[in-house]
Symmetry: C2
Subunit: 147 residues, 2 copies
């Protein structure tokens, strides 16, 4: 099975230094720093990369599961909102809100909600993030051409 | 504390469709598909994004911890190797190898190894990934100008 790589570096002190992250595919290299992670300076941060991993995985997994159930989606859109905070154990990802919109014609909302909730348990990245509470809000849309 | 976002979408069937992921910072948007995730077609995948999140977070956290201990690093380099596999529970991130090289002059290897292992327990992203076995291999280097 695939092995995927990414690398990073950090140079200098925590507050004055800076880091870089690179995807193994070579498609992205981004700079980050204390100010881009803890504040609002432009740059990337580990939390948005984690969010992209989850959003991408969940979108693919929900689509695949709906297809397997004979209720294919026309599209699935996801947004991961990753909350970074501090408690007695130090800095942590406190929780993630996963907001999902799927366009599926031939399904009732109850069945859709059951499938969407179940995919949270089967999506490889949400399984990897089992230590973090993930709150799912899934909305079912219909295509405009459907009755 | 900061809230970070990322979003994704998937259009079409699992095998023929395709997805996109976008970082909330706007710094990266990448396409992925069944073939870029499960095979070797060019493109990104959720696993390398997860690896970048961990590699970046760990590099920053190890640096910060060494600095706090009065043993500042000149540089920290990390590589996350994310293994994606399948077992009875379906597809999953089976394990991650985290390979770390740090250039620190004023530290013995034993203390360095203890700190590096401890940072695996305090780095916010490795805490979030507590469900995945992470094998750390940390190597201590010295700068060439040191005695």
């Amino acid at each position: 099975m695939p092995e995927r790589k990414a690398n990073a570096e950090w140079n200098g002190t925590l507050k004055e230094g800076s880091g870089k992250v690179r995807l193994g595919s070579g498609l992205f290299e981004g700079a980050f720093s204390f100010a881009t992670r803890m504040g609002d300076e432009p740059g990337t941060n580990p939390e948005e990369l984690l969010g992209a991993s989850l959003a991408g995985c969940y979108a693919m997994a929900l689509n695949a599961t709906l297809e397997k159930e004979g209720k294919p989606a026309k599209s699935v859109k996801t947004e991961a909102q990753v909350y970074f905070g501090k408690d007695d154990s130090g800095f942590k990802v406190s929780h993630i809100d996963l907001v999902v919109q799927a366009e599926v014609d031939a399904i009732e909302d109850e069945e859709f909600q059951t499938i969407a909730e179940n995919v949270k348990k089967t999506c490889p990245i949400s399984k990897a993030l089992a230590a973090v509470p993930i709150k799912l809000t899934a909305t079912l849309g219909r295509s405009k051409t459907a009755s």
